[in-house]
Symmetry: C2
Subunit: 119 residues, 2 copies
Amino acid sequence: MHKINLAEKLALFSTHWDPKIVAELNGQHVKLVKFRGEFVWHHHEHEDELFLVVHGSFDMHFRDRVVPLREGEMLVVPRGVEHRPVADAEVSVLLFEPAATLNTGSAGGDKTIARPDWI
Amino acid sequence: MHKINLAEKLALFSTHWDPKIVAELNGQHVKLVKFRGEFVWHHHEHEDELFLVVHGSFDMHFRDRVVPLREGEMLVVPRGVEHRPVADAEVSVLLFEPAATLNTGSAGGDKTIARPDWI
């Protein structure tokens, strides 16, 4: 039981689309991730997913619209809803989602991180 | 499915020890709460609880030590562990916890918010 400093954790990695686990509670993971560029379209069959912008901004694309998100803003993407994060510049995001969640969800492919690292 | 701006939500209330629900996912609630002063000692029998400081600072007291938490820092308090938040000045905190979690946990008493409002 120790405190977690988000800035210190974010300084530990520089990769993109590569979520790192920083905490676990009630079967959920808290992850930190950096986005830059366009991710793959995907959905999660069984998991709702929360995105909270820690630093920077990005756009969450849905099939019918785009939701821009800035620092201090968050969005819940319900299970089953196709989405694709797009970041013009690097953005740091906190994720809250079930421990079983795969970053690419239904899509798979070479961006899949099967077992995210703890940092 | 709409974005949630933490600063805008925090501007909607000024009460202390009175958590407000801002999102629900996977049976968990995301809440915002303002602390000032000393809360009651309590634990949660079945729920782990995450505290993320959005603005300000506070001390989480445990029976054997104190963990100071500042903006951008978070702490998971596992189920069963007695704790008491203490804030010298007002602090705004984001909570992640199961939807069933009561703010006073095992302790009950007049600070209990049986059904937190959504904002």
